[in-house]
């Protein structure tokens, strides 16, 4: 689903042609799973290669993206926020207005349609904040799949409302009590479920990580974010933006926005969760504070100790609280195409308030990281510069977290 190359641009020059046949983005990506999953992963890859070129599949996806998800999502000029920042003008890509309130549904829908064609009857997913779990439970209800969502026991307490939402949608939410009881452990458990029920089960991974083809496939289902944005900004301003900013946990919303712009003269910024600050060790910034390793089926940057054991992470935003990152981001970091930086919990919460008060839009704490970064970048830029922030989700789910942090009892 990648855009065709510009006429005078050679294939070699494009940054949009990866991964290679075996799923590698430079030294990253690949397929690091136990043998029992290699067959199912190959089967999935073959099915995806077939249906991505299938007109009926693409038509059904396009139809549901429009009528069920509500695409295209608007590109909104945040005038009051921009004037407060006294610099570049800030646009918001409104993924928060999608059905279920985040970009996650683009991918969940795409994979569910694939699962249907592969004859699978059961969907499983992992979730951190609950947004991907809700998106998966939603498409399961939409198409009549059985649905099981794995969620860290710790996260289930932090995100009780999303747990109930998933149950209302008919999903079974299974608490994961192993390891650190958060997103990475939910992923472990989902992989164990998949290996045990490979015949009838489709594992909908929620981010651009995992064994090939997941990083590519999940990206492709989100590339519509950037493709729409490109058209929208060209028609609003007649030119490309100066910079794009998105938050990065696993990195699905960021790659979705960036990919259509990889070959353009546009600065790209990925913002990781700095937690209490990089120097404290309490963060979830695998690109900024980690090193390459192998986890969850791919080679990528990881937060690990000296012995190669995966470290516990911290972020106020459960959706960014993950010790790895998609392999394409690892590659984009190494080649210097995307600049990865961090925003702390405190800065993210300030940005949450700033947007809520200046524009009447309440952003998810994940997206607030990208916003905070835009608010730091904008004042140093010219007034005719344009920044586009991926507002990847809405903040209703985070009201409890913000209130607790500020000592308010609801």
């Amino acid at each position: 689903m990648s855009r065709p190359l510009e006429k005078n641009q050679s294939f070699r020059e494009s940054l949009r042609h990866l991964p290679d046949r075996d799923g590698h983005f430079g030294p990253y990506g690949g397929r690091f799973v136990a043998e029992t999953l290699m067959g199912p992963v190959e089967e999935l890859h073959a099915a995806y290669e077939r249906y991505r070129r299938d007109a009926d599949f693409q038509a059904e996806l396009k139809h549901d993206l429009r009528d069920f998800v509500g695409r295209p999502s608007p590109l909104y000029l945040a005038e009051r926020l921009s004037s407060q920042c006294k610099g570049a003008r800030i646009y918001l890509k409104r993924e928060d207005l999608n059905h279920t309130g985040a970009h996650k549904i683009n991918n969940a829908l795409g994979q569910a349609l694939l699962a249907k064609r592969m004859g699978k009857t059961r969907l499983i997913a992992e979730t951190g904040a609950g947004q991907h779990g809700v998106a998966t439970a939603t498409v399961a209800a939409r198409f009549g799949f059985e649905c099981v969502v794995y969620m860290g026991a710790e996260d289930m307490q932090r995100q009780a409302i999303n747990v109930y939402r998933m149950r209302l949608l008919g999903a079974r939410v299974v608490p994961v009590t192993s390891g650190s009881r958060t997103l990475k452990d939910a992923l472990n458990e989902a992989m164990r479920d998949w290996v045990t029920h490979v015949d009838n089960t489709f594992y909908i991974i929620g981010t651009v990580a995992g064994p090939h083809p997941y990083p590519m496939m999940v990206r492709d289902f989100h590339v519509c974010i950037g493709e729409e944005t490109r058209g929208q900004i060209l028609s609003a301003e007649g030119r490309l933006p100066s910079a794009l900013i998105a938050c990065v946990g696993g990195g699905s919303n960021a790659i979705g926005l960036f990919h259509a712009f990889l070959d353009d003269p546009v600065k790209l910024y990925g913002v990781e969760a700095g937690g209490a600050g990089l120097h404290t060790g309490k963060h979830a910034a695998s690109l900024s504070g980690g090193r390459p390793g192998v986890l969850h089926g791919n080679r990528t940057y990881l937060l690990e100790d000296d012995a190669g054991q995966i470290r516990e992470t911290h972020s106020i935003s459960a959706g960014l609280d993950y010790p790895g990152v998609g392999p394409e981001h690892a590659w984009l970091k190494d080649i210097g195409r995307v600049i990865y930086d961090t925003i702390t919990d405190t800065e993210a919460v300030q940005a949450f308030h700033a947007l809520t008060r200046s524009e009447g839009i309440m952003p998810a704490l994940e997206s607030s990281h990208a916003l905070a970064y835009a608010m730091q970048l904008a004042p140093a830029m010219q007034r005719d510069d344009i920044i586009i922030v991926n507002l990847s989700g809405r903040g209703d789910k985070d009201i409890q977290t913000v209130a607790t942090r500020e000592g308010i009892e609801l």
Partner: protein
Amino acid sequence: MSRLAGVFSALKRNRRTALVPYITAGDPHKGATVPFMHTLVEAGADVLELGVPFSDPTADGPVIQQACERALKHGTTLGDVLGMVKEFRSRDARTPVVLMGYLNPLEAFGIGRFAEEVAMAGVDGILTVDMPPEEAEALAGLLRAKGLDCIFLLAPTTTAARLRRICEAASGFVYYVSLKGVTGAASLDVQAVRERFTAIRRETRLPVGVGFGVRDAGSAAQLAGFSDAVIVGSAIVSRIAEHRGELADTLANVREFVHSLRLAMDAV
């Protein structure tokens, strides 16, 4: 001839099946592992499989996950595991030892240094669960250069094309995962395993072992009827998990269980 090849050919001459028990290194504590290794050999083990603990063992069921957690709580590192093998070797030069684990701790250690030090410690083979042959070139090359065997998994989901490729890449023995699931899963279908064996035998002259889901003397004996090795992990580790108080009691408990497997397998 490698230690593994020597043991398997001796067993074949005597028409016996190898008993390969698995324990996680550092479980329940670092000092217990070497005594467990000797106990397993005394109880009838032909080859030892020693698990290198990892924080995220995605192919393992709850029993071995918890063993990893216990071992990591005591700070067991790959360096410690190599020290344990070295100590074991000072009293046992004969029994092959295979390390089983996940790739990330090996890479953190450095794969060049790893190949060097595992060979020096007296390890015979390496099974890296999350490293299929496609991704194994660099590490496998280093290990082979040191005379170590690279053991790969085969599964019920392995296609014919992959079966061929894996058998070409493997040495020492190949490990057939008897079921779709994680280690220690409940439902082992011996008849289905036997049928797959015919296909595997056609592709390789290496010994073929079976593991995952072997819970008791009965299932071990059934598999011993047609396989070259029976690998038993969770059923042993769950006995170690019961450890309280004296290590001698847990050693005795494990010895008795492994010996019962040996007797059942030899009666076939």
